[in-house]
């Protein structure tokens, strides 16, 4: 009896230890953070499902999310429980059976897509669309507190999965399309109290403000609507930023518009900026740089370097030194790219003149959706390939030279598709150092999806495709080994985990969550 009691106490103590060390272990049995780990590799050490047996993958369960229209969630899994989000909702499921354990619904006055939750201690956190951070008890879904960090009445909203670093919940905002000035904020996991905030558009008089031609910083945009990465050794948080406002008309904001379309390296304790790198200066094509930032240590030109890999919406694949922000190289990863002839030695695009949007419209490649976007890439560190969902497409961009009116829906123009030149999705495997395309998988479909990838130690990469299927490819060759059509558009990235000792792969469609495992009787 005493023994039993001790065992109980022990296991109770073991519960709730989701901390930095656990997240740093990387994606394996559990998937504890949006991109699987702090480095955003989206690579799992699981190999139960592998090239030899993936052909016998079958659907194990489907969870329907009532009322969902566009699930963008990457589920998290800890200790056999899956956490997934819909707009203003968090669902906790038995990960082995897909049965619901609890649901929490935030009564929020605004709706928006939501990309996932964050785990820490014995709590689970997510963001309601109206910029409230919600902290729940991980086991019961009981509310602990909510904390507002931006005002939806001022036009802010939020859609990202928060990142938890050193007991701080890092949050960002969307709403850049109507001018709202972006920021990254750190809120205490204990109290929700705001510990620091970094504005992505410098205030008047601050360094960088001279790059706006006198445009008010309050309306600069540069939102922070995707999840960043974290390097504990360098004690740096990396966060990507979106485009300046108005999106398609730059006449009132002459200059580079710092720190839009950039990556920011922020001190993990203070939020102080250590360096930044801007991918697209003075953007007028809505090419947010919010794509994932992948952190790897690799030999580069004979020297071990701490690298950051980033395939940008603007069509170039970048290598940076993540310690200093030094630009190392960039290569194009799409053919349909005509706005720049290359990137110069300082990392600045060599732009082709005359491609700013005009009232009459001008054709520019890539399209407004970008050569890639927030759909997650993944890397297999053993093979050295980075898997990037890529869209070959151009658009007609229109710009209008009106006086920008904030919060009016004004975006300075827009873009339209060219019916005779439909978009084409590929999954491309880039040599992570040279940027060379090693193989590509051409998808079928209407060019409407937003699904990403997950890589596994089983020698596989799983990708959502443009026709509503999950496809497993040989990570080295790109050969399609297995697929399953879910009959619905995909807006989410897959992930993998273990429950009951078995490996599963999960992806959300627009309104259902599908989970696959090896056939067994």
């Amino acid at each position: 009896m005493r023994l039993l009691l001790c065992a109980l106490v022990l296991s109770a103590a073991a519960i709730g230890q989701i901390d930095e060390a656990a997240i740093l272990e990387g994606a394996g049995d559990d998937w504890l953070t949006y991109s699987g780990d702090y480095a955003s590799l989206r690579h799992s050490s699981l190999d139960q499902i592998n090239r030899e047996n993936v052909g016998s993958l079958v659907t194990k369960w489907v969870y329907h999310v009532p009322g969902a229209r566009r699930l963008e969630t990457t589920p998290l899994v800890y200790d056999g429980v899956m956490y997934l989000t819909n707009t203003n909702e968090l669902h906790a499921l038995d990960a082995g059976t897909g049965r619901r354990i609890w649901t929490y619904v935030a009564e929020a006055p605004r709706r928006a897509q939501n990309r996932g939750a964050a785990l820490w201690g014995d709590a689970v956190f997510f963001l309601a669309a109206d910029c409230h951070l919600v902290k729940l008890d991980r086991l019961t879904g009981a509310l602990i507190w909510t904390r507002e960090f931006a005002s939806y009445e001022e036009g802010y909203y939020t859609s990202l999965a928060p990142l938890i670093v050193k007991g701080q919940v890092l949050v960002g905002t969307a709403g850049g399309g109507t001018g709202q000035r972006g920021f990254v904020a750190a809120l205490s996991t204990d109290t929700g109290e705001e510990l620091w905030r970094f504005w992505t558009v410098p205030a008047e008089g601050e360094p960088g403000s001279e790059t706006w031609g006198g445009f008010p910083s309050k309306w600069g945009g540069a939102p922070t609507w995707t999840t960043g990465s974290y390097d504990p050794e360098l004690n740096l948080i990396y966060w990507p930023t979106g485009n300046p406002w108005p999106d398609f008309y730059g006449g009132r904001r002459r200059g580079d518009n710092l720190y839009s379309n950039s990556v920011l390296a922020l001190d993990a304790d203070t939020g102080e900026m250590k360096w930044y790198f801007q991918f697209t200066p003075h953007d007028t094509h809505d090419w947010d740089a919010n794509e994932q930032l992948v952190l790897v240590d690799r030999e580069y030109n004979g020297e071990m370097r701490k690298l950051m890999l980033h395939a940008d919406r603007n069509g170039f694949y970048y290598l940076l030194d993540r310690e200093t922000g030094e630009y190392l190289q960039a290569t194009r990863f799409v053919e349909r790219l005509d706005w720049a002839t290359g990137i110069d030695e300082s990392g600045r695009p060599i732009e082709v003149p005359g491609l700013e949007p005009t009232p009459a419209g001008v054709k520019v490649c890539p399209s407004v959706r970008g050569a890639t976007n927030w759909m997650s890439p993944s890397i297999n560190p053993e093979i050295g390939l980075l898997y990037v969902v890529t869209l070959e497409m151009c658009d007609i961009y229109t710009g209008s030279a009106k006086e920008p009116v904030p919060s009016s829906g004004f975006r300075g123009g827009g873009s339209q598709q060219i019916p005779s030149e439909p978009g084409q999705f590929y999954l491309r495997a880039l040599d992570s150092l040279s940027g060379e395309i090693r193989w590509e998988y051409k998808m079928t479909g209407p060019a409407t999806m937003w699904a990403g990838t997950v890589s596994t130690a089983g020698g596989l990469v799983f990708t959502g495709d443009d026709d509503g299927a999950l496809v497993a490819l040989d990570a080295r060759t790109g050969e399609a080994l297995w697929h399953f059509s879910m009959g619905n558009t995909l807006y989410a990235s897959p992930m993998t985990f273990t429950a009951d000792g078995k490996q599963y792969v999960t992806i959300a469609t627009a309104n259902d969550v599908f989970t696959f495992g090896l056939f067994s009787d």
Partner: protein, 255 residues
């Protein structure tokens, strides 16, 4: 015994008295009681066949805890009733505008959150009771503080009507909140069954351990039939104390 005719009637009477005492306002603020009453009569004639006489649903959805209804503004509800819901089985109704407004008032009252009503109880005394002598906190949580066997009550004021809260206190078996069926695990551990099928069960025990049971393991589970919510609140607590509890609970809202 509880559940017998007389027991139930006693509680029903008690509920009636308390309802009168607390001045339960299940009416939306902008509608006169007469309008809501008129709407109710019409609802019984024209809507109850699909939405149930108490609005809790049948062929059509429940309008009681429907988030859709709470999110919709009055004009939207008016339009839904007048024009129906296209593509769904909600027919249009060509009643005079006034009658439709009465219906809107009644539909609103079905999901009027407790936090919007005035309860003439002492919320501070209710709070002390909840976290103290009432013993509620042993099973219920509010903002992270409390036990596990009962539902989190952090937002009960914005998710339930006053009479629903009252009913939960005075007649707990009248309806058992989903995910809170009482069960015993391995013959002696108190637990609640969050979900179950014939093949698996998701069970939370009173010490905060989650048991994900499979197949034969389901035999470890014995359903209790009733819930763990004590059945003696009505007899144990005087009316004014119940009122204080309701006053306190009705103020628990998310924002």
């Amino acid at each position: 015994m509880f559940g017998s005719e007389s027991g139930y009637n006693a509680h029903a009477v008690r509920l009636g008295i308390l309802t009168a005492l607390t001045g339960v306002v299940c009416f939306a603020a902008d509608y006169t009681p007469a309008a809501v009453e008129a709407g109710k009569a019409q609802f019984l004639d024209a809507c109850a066949a699909c939405h149930g006489t108490n609005g809790e649903g049948g062929f059509g959805p429940s309008l009681v805890d429907g988030r859709e209804v709470r999110r919709a503004d009055d004009e939207q509800l008016f339009k839904s009733i007048q024009q129906g819901v296209s593509g769904a089985d909600m027919p249009p109704f060509s009643f005079p505008d006034e009658q439709i407004w009465n219906l809107v008032g009644f539909v609103r009252s079905l999901s009027a959150p407790a936090v919007e009503s005035n309860v003439d109880g002492d919320a501070a005394a209710g709070e002390a009771l909840f976290f103290g002598a009432g013993g509620c906190v042993g099973c219920h949580r509010i903002r992270g503080r409390g036990g596990l066997l009962g539902p989190d009550l952090s937002v009960i004021g914005s998710s339930r009507r006053i009479d629903q809260i009252l009913e939960a206190l005075l007649d707990p078996n009248a309806r058992i909140t989903a995910g809170f069926a009482a069960a015993t695990l391995d013959g002696n551990v108190r637990a609640v069954v969050k979900n179950h099928t014939n093949f698996s069960a998701q069970v939370l025990d009173s010490s905060g351990r989650l048991h994900l049971l499979r197949g034969d393991e389901l035999e470890r589970l014995r359903f209790e039939g009733e819930s763990w919510m004590p059945r003696d609140v009505a007899t144990r607590l005087e009316d004014h104390l119940v009122r204080d509890l309701v006053a306190f609970l009705s103020r628990q809202a998310a924002r």
